[in-house]
């Protein structure tokens, strides 16, 4: 009989899970617009007239089909809430821990729709004063989606 019967074993499993995700038609349209035209586009609910974001075939609130009334969200908005990450966290989509130097923010676009994105400003003190912001688009290498915007930059008024 072995002496180390109390030794506790662990079994590692490190294989990443691979996927081929589709944007579908609605988010696909938004991807196409950011990629081609540097435009954020949502669809407006035919009933409540709110913008559904990210675009979907059904308005969550009214529970009816949204239809395909596309509307621009615009590039400017107001920061409602933000936070920044002090410690690096595991990002399963890239498969390692990474820090996010740019603060995460909820932004109310002037079109009335609210979105989640990053802020350019990283200084905690200056961040407190950031209210009005504008999207800074990637000039090159846009592939579609929210990463086509680098971050939101503080603007006056």
């Amino acid at each position: 009989m072995t002496d180390n019967a109390e030794e506790l074993i662990h079994v590692e499993y490190t294989q990443p899970w691979r996927y081929r995700w589709s944007t579908g038609k609605y988010i696909g349209k938004a991807y196409a617009e950011t990629k081609r035209n540097k435009r954020l586009m949502g669809n407006r609910c035919s009933k409540c007239q709110e913008i559904v974001w990210p675009p979907e075939p059904v308005c969550p609130r009214c529970k009816v089909p949204t239809g395909e009334k596309w509307v621009e969200l615009g590039d400017t908005g107001t920061v409602l809430q933000y936070t920044y990450q002090v410690m690096p966290m595991w990002d399963p989509h890239v498969g390692r821990a990474r820090a996010h130097p740019h603060p995460s923010a909820n932004i109310r676009m002037d079109s009335g729709c609210h979105i989640m994105h990053r802020l350019e400003e990283t200084d905690p003190e200056k961040l407190k004063k950031v209210k009005r912001v504008k999207a800074v688009w990637k000039e090159e290498g846009r592939q579609g989606g929210m990463d086509d915007i680098l971050y939101f930059r503080a603007i006056d008024g």
């Binding site: 180390n4 074993i9 399963p92 989509h93």
Partner: protein, 159 residues
Amino acid sequence: MEGWTIEQLEGKDVFVIEGQVAIPNNYSAGIVGSRFLVELRDNCRIMGIRCPKCDRCYVPPKSTCMECFGQLTEFVEVGKSGTLLTFTVDHHTTPVQTASPPNVYGIIKLDGADTGLLHLIGEVDGKAVKSGMRLEAVFNEERRGSILDIKYFRPAEAG
């Protein structure tokens, strides 16, 4: 994003993204499972656990009896040889398999055990494998506390 590819479907405003979810996992074998794996690694012994009430010996061992829900603690060593209950010669290729096909898998009832152990079968042509045949465990030289410390089961010498 890093490690992702985004491709637009031809003629459509639809995109397909190839990406991953990569979260390493580290599973506790627990006291009972660890005991089994440590014995394999250190002593090349195959341990079962016996329910005194149901007189049933489980290999690999488990802490709860499936018949009476009793808590099991009585380890017993079982044989390194056993009888093949069923098998398959597996030809399909998958991203998770450890060796390229064909692989032969079987469920082996070791002498002294009341349950079957799933494992690989080696040193024999797939066509020569038959249910009911006698098999014996072949251990790896280097063992690390894994069910794969048993390299595979091969046809046993006469008897």
